[in-house]
Amino acid sequence: MIPGKNPPSNWSEFIEGLWQRNPIFVMVLGMCPTMAVTTSALNSISMGLATTFVLAASCWMVSLLRHFVPKEVRIATYIVIIATFVTVVDYAIQAISLSLYDALGAYIKLIVANCLVLGRAEAHAARNKPMAALYNATGMGLGFTLGLFMIGGVREILGAGKLFGLSLFGPHYQPWVVMVLPPGGFFVMAGWLMLFAVVRARKARGNTPATLAEGAQNA
């Protein structure tokens, strides 16, 4: 959210979530929206940004309140905080773009039940200062957005022959429809994980590291 002048420590908090511990591909958290709304690149990015806002705002709030919340009721407190911000986002999206609201459907409200948000609140925000929590949460949120985009983009290209609604392959392309249907989500995600595993194995064996850059750019 504030990418300008960061001290290095905050910067590394930010980058950690973005790539090294990417919520989707490394931690495998928040799978429901990952699969459900990634039928197109635009939906994925909107969902990712909505989640980023909720994540950053609630982690910041949780971190501010970390000395006041009794341990026994902390989960309930976190959930209420998260639910408040999700309600805000829900109404905001409804006001900004009704068509987007209809496309994302109940999944905006379901951000409450995204294990990523609660997981970060519990594992990071509750133990760190507000600024560190904010950076970490923003990084995680953007990492989540990136992951969603990588899945949503591939699904839209294969399943509809388009990216952001623009036709890529001309009128003769026969769409691979199953990719925008539910099974496609599983397959594309599995495909990315396999690609990463192969790249990691290559790297460990000391072969061409060029494939890593290629894999990252293919997104």
Binding site: A36, A113, P182, F186, M194
Partner: protein
């Protein structure tokens, strides 16, 4: 809106399965399906919580909608669900401690199971009546259990087979889930569709 009870039941269990078609409740679906022994009780516990949540959501709507306080829906739902999960947790601890240990962290995590909140939200969005809501919840729970048990049994079978290195772990589970989802698509059209 005018779906009959039977239609809702068939749709939620098969063609519109919560996990495989609507992607609700993915975390336990990928996390606790190592063995059928754990997956089945978790499915039952979740079904119970879903039913409770559906019932409570229906009652809450009776209060919230006349008062024009729909913006509190989400917060109320999630609080009620958290309470219901706490109840199940206490019950499981008392009735069968070994099951309680086997389920571990995934029992409290039912709170953040999208399937539970999803039922409450979808039944509100679709204006289901009382009986329809409960049927929807029951079907959803049964469908969830079915998907969990199916994936767990497949994973038990492939545990000792030789899998390429790159596919080990989550990738393999996702691939299996994809195939499962593909086969559930064969039920499309059953129950009159959406």
């Amino acid at each position: 809106m005018h779906d009959s009870v039977g239609q809702i039941l068939i749709t939620t269990i098969l063609s519109g399965n919560f996990v495989l078609a609507m992607f609700l409740g993915m975390c336990p679906f990928l996390g606790v399906t190592h063995s059928v022994k754990v997956a089945f009780p978790l499915g039952l516990a979740t079904t119970f919580v879903i039913l409770m949540a559906s019932l409570c959501a229906y009652l809450l709507n009776l209060v919230l909608i006349p008062l024009h306080m729909e913006f509190l829906q989400l917060i109320c739902y999630i609080t009620v669900i958290a309470a219901a999960v706490q109840l199940v947790e206490m019950f499981a601890k008392k009735q069968s401690p070994e099951l309680f240990r086997a389920l571990g962290i995934y029992l409290p995590l039912i709170t953040t199971n999208c399937a539970v909140l999803g039922v409450a939200l979808f039944q509100t969005a679709r204006n289901y009546s009382f009986v329809q809501s409960l049927t929807f919840a029951l079907g959803g729970g049964v469908g969830f259990t079915l998907a969990l048990v199916l994936l767990a049994s497949v994973r038990e079978r492939v545990r000792f087979s030789k899998v390429p290195n790159a596919m080990m772990g989550t990738a393999l589970t996702l691939m299996l889930a994809g195939v499962l989802s593909l086969s559930f698509m064969g039920f499309a059209g059953l129950g009159g569709g959406e």
